[in-house]
């Protein structure tokens, strides 16, 4: 028997597998038992109704997919009155994700949403599709600090801050979020990309730029998780390109306490449950009594396979 539970600050998850915001809804109960998941993560909500971006909203790219959905939402009232109760039919902790364009609105959103039955507040300061010029809070450490600080003051609910891989110095942003009182970091949102249709010469998706997700971005985000885990003390939730058990292991070795999964659900709708089962088997076979022991268990030294490793100075 493997102990599959993990602790993210005050929150205990029965296993480290969660969906990523925007890639999950109770609609998935069509094909799977949602109670298997470590947590439920709602689609990002903002105060007002938003239509979202023009279609096509997604396209395949070489390493996965590109999307620009544009955070469509029925708004905060609908979320609190209908969606929270809908999610609360299920047992795993509920993570509510919020977004706003001003720091004041973020504060007000956090106050209103934190009062609901959600268990964790996820602060999405990193959606690459909101402002194509890249004006997201998570690109800059001061902006991140300011918004997180203000939100922290409004609520005691566990607060997870979702970072952006488009930041030049993600470690500085991670530290700023920690200083400002984040309970955990989600590393990370999608990477800004562009696909051009070479038949039509037009962008492949309606909003021109979009966020990359899927297997191709994994080595970049694993690197960021590793860097952030070395720099902060709060738990990190790895997110980007997970499609198999070994990907979860890789994120945990790099320092993640848990993971979120987006793209895989599109390819294999019940993939998250398969990964929970497979991860337990993997731990059993490798002799890990607790999955949590994987976190940060990477051996930092180079693979000493060759004498050359000793002989060659690192440039």
């Amino acid at each position: 028997m493997v102990d599959m539970s993990v602790k993210i600050g005050a929150v205990t998850l029965k296993n480290p597998i969660m969906p990523a915001s925007g890639c999950f809804s109770t609609d998935l109960a069509q094909v799977m038992d949602l109670n298997r998941l470590g947590a439920l993560v709602a689609k990002t909500v903002s105060r007002e109704f938003r239509t979202g971006n023009p279609p096509p909203r997604a396209a395949e790219v070489e390493g996965g997919m590109i999307n620009s959905i544009g955070l469509p939402t029925k708004g905060i009232d609908y979320f609190l009155q209908h969606q929270v109760p809908d999610y609360k039919r299920f047992t795993p902790p509920l993570v509510g994700s919020i977004s706003a364009t001003t720091i004041e609105d973020f504060e007000a959103m956090a106050r209103d949403v934190a009062k609901s039955a959600i268990d964790v507040l996820e602060v999405n300061i990193s959606c690459p599709t909101r402002d194509p010029k890249g004006g997201n809070f998570a690109l800059h450490e001061e902006h991140t600090y300011n918004v997180v600080k203000l939100i922290r003051a409004t609520t005691d609910k566990p607060m997870w801050v979702k970072l952006s891989p488009n930041a030049g110095d993600v470690v500085a942003v991670a530290k700023a979020a920690e200083r400002a009182g984040a309970d955990a970091l989600v590393v990370s949102n999608t990477i800004l990309g562009l696909k051009i249709n070479t038949d039509t010469f037009r962008p492949a998706i309606g909003n021109k730029f979009g966020g990359l997700s899927g297997p191709g971005i994994k080595p970049i985000i694993v690197r960021m998780v590793y860097q952030c885990a070395k720099a902060v003390k709060i738990p990190i939730i790895g997110c980007g390109g997970i499609v198999k058990v070994e990907d979860v292991v890789e994120y945990m070795l790099a320092g993640a306490t848990a993971v979120m999964i987006g793209y895989l659900t599109f390819r294999n709708p019940t993939g998250m449950v398969a990964i929970i089962d497979g991860l337990e088997q993997w731990c059993a076979k490798r002799g890990f009594a607790r999955v949590a022991d994987l976190t940060g268990a990477m051996i930092d030294e180079a693979p000493m396979e060759t004498f050359a490793a000793a002989a060659a100075p690192i440039g």
């Binding site: 999950f24 909203r57 959905i69 469509p72 299920f90 198999k244 294999n268 019940t270 497979g278």
Partner: protein, 298 residues
């Protein structure tokens, strides 16, 4: 080979085209119920070219897959036609349901990598399908005569509703629009269900004005209690206009690029208009079949 598999399921392993898990029984907090859809592996029974562009695929379906109703679709994990990966599934509506033999059929056009990959499947291979998905066509018991109007791949989607109409003793007139006689597909199949009128680009009969004349005459003959269409925006607009003018209820099956096929991602939206107000709906879960008067088109 004694070595460990390179990576565990799902996805990158040799097993990755296989369904990744059997869905768990819902926890007791939920009413113990059957899940409506599943990921299943269906052996290919036959797979033939219908003409230069279209293939007809028959698979042995799982019991749950066989609960599919007309207008619903499956999201197919197509094999890759080349050395690159395919990252999205491809939706295909069901073209024929043979519950006796436990078979489901698709009729599809090869347009890009996904369908070209699908076309490589051979008898005995297994196809990974998620479904049945979406809201299908509705048949009102009050209707005695319906008109289905399809063009191109739209013809495939209209198959099962015609079949269902016949089984419900509802008369069907099928207007099948195509580039040339080679692309009038499945007319035999539709003929079993009712009358078939083929209209072609080659002889000009597929012109909107001509189709309008045919529809008008069906309306006059009281052979049009309801309209069904799929596959052409021009023909959809025509039916919508006539339906509105003559107060004939209508349904349209729509398409859109999909990612999840299940509702969460909001990739597959199209515009609808109700009481002058526009809104976006998801083709995968709010549709693919929509009220004709509410749909705006594509």
């Amino acid at each position: 080979m004694s070595a460990e598999p390179f990576a565990s399921a799902p996805y990158v392993v040799g097993e990755s085209a296989r369904p990744v898990t059997v869905p768990h029984i819902p926890a007791q907090e939920l009413p113990a119920q059957e899940l409506p859809a599943e990921e299943s592996l269906c052996p290919v029974v036959s797979h033939d070219w219908v003409n230069d562009e279209y293939k007809h695929l028959v698979v042995e379906a799982s019991p749950k897959a066989l609960t599919v109703t007309p207008g619903q679709f499956f999201n197919l994990l197509c094999p890759s036609p080349d050395v690159g990966e395919l990252f999205f599934r491809r939706p295909q509506s069901v073209y024929r349901i043979d519950r006796e033999r436990g078979q489901i059929e698709f009729l599809y056009k090869c347009v890009g990598r996904g369908t070209r990959g699908l076309a490589t499947l051979e008898k005995g291979d297994e196809l990974n399908m998620v479904g049945p998905l979406g809201v299908g066509f509705r048949l009102d018991p009050a209707w005695r005569q319906i008109v289905v109007l399809g063009r191109g791949v739209g013809i495939a989607t209209l198959g099962p509703i015609s079949q269902a109409a016949r089984e419900g003793h509802v008369g069907v007139t099928a207007i099948l629009s195509a580039r040339n006689p080679d692309f009038v597909m499945a007319d035999g199949f539709f003929r079993e269900a009712g009358d078939v009128v083929s209209v072609l680009d080659t002889d000009g009969t597929s012109a909107v004005e001509n189709v309008e004349r045919i529809l008008q005459s069906l309306i006059v003959q009281r052979l049009a209690d309801a309209f069904f269409t799929c596959g052409s925006n021009r023909l959809f607009q025509l039916m919508k206009r006539l339906g509105k003018a003559h107060n004939i209820p209508g349904q349209v099956a729509m398409e859109q690029v999909m990612a999840c096929g299940l509702g969460p991602c909001y990739v597959c939206v199209r515009t609808f208009e109700v009481d002058g107000k526009k809104e976006l709906r998801r083709v995968c879960i709010d549709g693919p079949v929509f009220d004709m008067q509410e749909a705006v088109g594509w």
